[in-house]
């Protein structure tokens, strides 16, 4: 995984660095050049501007309706951007239909052809390109071998299980060796176990064939485990593009902080800032956290302090000490979730389950605290699910 923030993929990519594009165009990079997609007055995608590198596993993560599928259909050629350009390998894709682009899309419902056998499904892209029957069959068998389903070629699609269909859809998309594989929430129809299994499998296939995978999902688990980089989208806007660890540990907007993983959000006003350490005035008293991205705040700015439940701990004498009331405890197998409340602000605290039994101290007073470098202060903004 490439560490840090690779150059040229920041959402606020300045127009002046235009020549940069020319240098990456030689490869099979995908460039979204200020792409906006509108349907009438509704803006589905607003000024998406990034480069997806050849061979990268790139995910678009966002709640449903955030425009990620629209963007994917734009890359695959089912629609053209209202503004901006889509470039693949340096070539402007405007007016080039989905059948002429070096992309293959795996649909949410897979869209396997129900009237064809598995082999015919996989060989369909070859058939329409005029490849002979014998060669088609050979290629289909090779691909079935690759997805570890040898011998199912003559079965009908409906005779396969969900996971098998998934793999057949991937094999079909790979049949003509596209440069880019686009996946539109392909795992959403599978059960939990299979979904986890397919995550590993997709990642393995991607590394095996070395293609660019562009993956659309609303499931942060999928995005974080598989991707080299993740773009978090909300309401048509790409909020942050970073490797998964940066997305989780160093969110750049309040939406990303609240959407990816669990977070306690404590609203307040900036009191003072010393280098990256910000003190804010909250209903829970004065708390300290890190200013994300070295941002400078003025006293009195509206801001939100985010602290992950696993970084809250119980005990006396901790920094950022808060006195909270015990509300309830939920057992989640590997962890226990403590729901607390302090001065009207709900707090959630997560503890790894090391055995033992649950505390039932309803109504009791619990002293909690957290290290200032674990907490992130972000400007006030939209929260996920709010």
């Amino acid at each position: 995984m490439p560490g840090g923030n690779p150059s040229g993929i920041h959402q606020a990519f300045p127009q002046s660095v235009q020549p940069f594009f020319e240098s990456v165009m030689a490869t099979k990079d995908i460039v979204l050049d200020h792409v906006s997609i509108r349907f009438g007055a509704y803006t589905a995608v607003d000024n998406a501007h990034l480069v997806i590198k050849g061979g990268e596993f790139f995910s678009f993560l966002g709640p449903s309706g955030c425009g990620k599928t629209t963007l994917l259909r734009c890359i695959s050629g089912f629609s053209d951007p209202t503004e901006g350009r889509v470039l693949i390998g340096g070539q402007d894709m405007k007016g080039i239909g989905p059948n002429k682009r070096p992309t293959a899309l795996i649909f949410q419902n897979l869209a396997l052809f129900p009237l064809m056998s598995v082999s015919d499904n996989i060989a369909f892209p070859l058939e329409v390109r005029g490849v002979g029957r014998k060669d088609r069959r050979k290629r289909a068998d090779e691909l079935l071998e690759m997805i570890a389903l040898p011998g199912v070629g003559d079965k009908k699609v409906h005779e396969l299980s969900g996971g098998q269909r998934q793999r057949v859809a991937i094999a079909r998309a790979l049949a003509v060796e596209p440069d880019i594989l686009l996946l539109d929430e392909p795992l959403s129809a599978l059960d939990l176990k299979l979904r986890h299994h397919m995550r590993t499998e997709l990642r393995t296939i991607q590394q095996q064939v070395g293609l660019t995978f562009i993956y659309i999902t609303h499931d942060q688990g999928e995005a974080l485990t598989m991707s080299d980089r993740v773009a978090v989208m909300n309401a048509g806007v790409i909020e942050q593009v970073d490797p998964p660890e940066s997305i989780y540990n160093r969110p750049k907007t309040s939406f990303v902080a609240s959407f990816v993983g669990e977070s306690n959000a404590i609203e307040g006003k900036v009191a003072s800032q010393a280098e990256t350490l910000v003190s804010i005035e909250t209903p829970l008293g004065r708390l300290q956290g890190q200013a994300a991205g070295g941002r400078q705040y003025k006293a009195g700015d509206d801001c939100i302090l985010f602290i992950r439940p696993e970084q809250l701990s119980i005990g006396d004498g901790l920094p950022n000490a808060v006195t909270a009331n015990w509300v309830k405890e939920e057992f989640e197998g590997n962890s226990r979730q403590l729901f607390l409340e302090a001065n009207g602000v709900p707090l959630r605290l997560s503890r790894v389950n090391l055995g033992g039994t649950a505390d039932t101290r309803s109504g009791a007073v619990v002293p909690v605290g957290f290290a200032p470098d674990q907490a992130i202060v972000l400007p006030h903004g939209v929260l996920a699910g709010a």
């Binding site: 050629g77 989905p98 293959a104 899309l105 649909f107 869209a111 369909f124 892209p125 009908k156």
Partner: protein
């Protein structure tokens, strides 16, 4: 139905009634086709005969009408099915508002009475023909062409409805997937949509063929002086029916039954193959039985039976039996005649001695029919009422006593 509440008997009774209502007329019609009586009936049963089939096939008007009907039906299928498919595809691509308008337009021919369609077809094409100065022999005035034109207007709407129903179950994502995998729009249509529509094309073909073949309302106008099967049949019925129509019914029922059974064999086989229980099945696991229930085998067997029955039928000669029946009839007629004659002679004998009083009684009868309906008119031997009637001497009959029961007496 719940057996405990006695519902079983009710259900069985109802089913029996229902099925006799459905199939009773058909069964009776089939039986009448083999009765030699020249009016279609079961009783009295005269002779088993197959001559009505010969009569049917010897009917030139009906046979040429049948040929016309087949030519028209095939042409209608060839035109209406593609039009219906195109209409359905257009409807499924349009915006919902435009779709509603176009749907109404396309469906209207079905709602308009066939008679109106028939007349307007003649009027339209006639006007068009005269407008372009076509002569009377041209296709504008040809019954076959007009019938084709008239039937296509509404039958293509039937086809469209069939395709629309199927298209509603089509996932347009599949076409997108085909395009994405490199297919041209034409390939996506041929390889994805058309195979999906396969069953609908089959049923649309069947439906349009039947709709054209059995159409009467429109055809009776558009065929002009010609004949199709239905119009020929209708005029035949108008002029009095005979069992050759029942023979026709037997043929149609036979063809339908064979078609239905073969189709059923086909669906069952497909279902078993689809679910993959073929190997475990008692019938489909057995190589002999498996071949036996194959739709093709079923068809060959049924066609063979039908062929054999036809061959036997052509060899059957009912003339001996019919002669017998004729002889019986003649003998019976003779017998009746004899009896009549005998009765009359008896009557003559008994009436002769009492002719005078009877005449007196007749004269006294005030009936305008000369006492023909008098309770005693036919019992001239009875004397009792005579004195009572005697005073009324003058006969008031306007027929001058022509119907007097004794009027015939002098001639014997």
């Amino acid at each position: 139905m719940n057996r405990g509440t006695g519902g079983g008997a009710v259900a069985a009774g109802f089913s029996l009634l229902f099925f006799s209502f459905l199939f009773g007329p058909l069964i009776i019609m089939v039986i009448t086709a083999f009765n030699s009586s020249s009016f279609p009936r079961i009783t009295p049963w005269e002779c088993f005969t197959t001559e009505w089939f010969a009569v049917l096939f010897a009917n030139d008007r009906l046979m040429s009408g049948l040929l016309n009907s087949l030519v028209i039906a095939v042409s209608v299928v060839a035109i209406a099915v593609p039009i219906g498919l195109a209409g359905a595809l257009a409807l499924s691509e349009l915006s919902s508002r435009l779709r509603a308008v176009l749907y109404t337009v396309l469906i209207t021919p079905i709602l308009i009475p066939g008679v109106v369609l028939g007349i307007s077809t003649i009027v339209f094409w006639g006007a068009l023909g005269r407008g372009v100065g076509a002569e009377y022999g041209s296709f504008f005035f040809d019954g076959m062409f007009l019938t084709l034109a008239g039937q296509v207007t509404f039958i293509s709407a039937y086809a469209m409805l069939v395709f629309l129903a199927r298209l509603q179950r089509f996932d347009p994502i599949l076409t997108e997937a085909a395009l994405d995998l490199g297919a041209t729009p034409g390939q996506a249509f041929r390889k994805i949509l058309l195979p999906f529509l396969g069953p609908a094309i089959g049923s649309a073909t069947f439906l349009t063929f039947l709709a054209s073949f059995e159409n009467y309302n429109t055809t009776v106008f558009t065929i002009l002086s010609g004949n199709t099967f239905t119009t020929a049949l209708a005029s035949k019925v108008r002029h009095g029916t005979d069992p050759s129509l029942s023979a026709l019914a037997v043929i149609i029922i036979g063809v339908t039954l064979i078609g239905a059974i073969v189709h059923e064999a086909h669906t069952r086989r497909k279902e078993v193959l689809r679910t993959g229980i073929a190997r475990r099945s008692r019938i489909y696991g057995n190589p002999v039985l498996k071949t036996l229930v194959h739709p093709l085998t079923v068809f060959l067997i049924l066609a063979g039976i039908a062929g054999l029955a036809t061959w036997q039928g052509t060899r059957h000669d009912a003339s001996v039996c019919k002669q017998q029946v004729l002889d019986d009839k003649r003998a019976r007629q003779q017998e009746l005649l004899e009896e009549q004659r005998r009765k009359m002679q008896e009557q003559q004998k008994t009436t002769a001695p009492v002719s005078a009083p009877a005449g007196a009684a007749g004269k006294a009868n005030p009936s305008p029919f000369g006492g023909a309906f008098s309770p005693n008119g036919l019992t001239p031997g009875r004397e009792e009422p005579a004195p009572a009637d005697a005073p009324a001497k003058a006969n008031p009959s306007p027929f001058g006593g022509a119907f007097n029961p004794n009027g015939l007496k002098p001639s014997q």
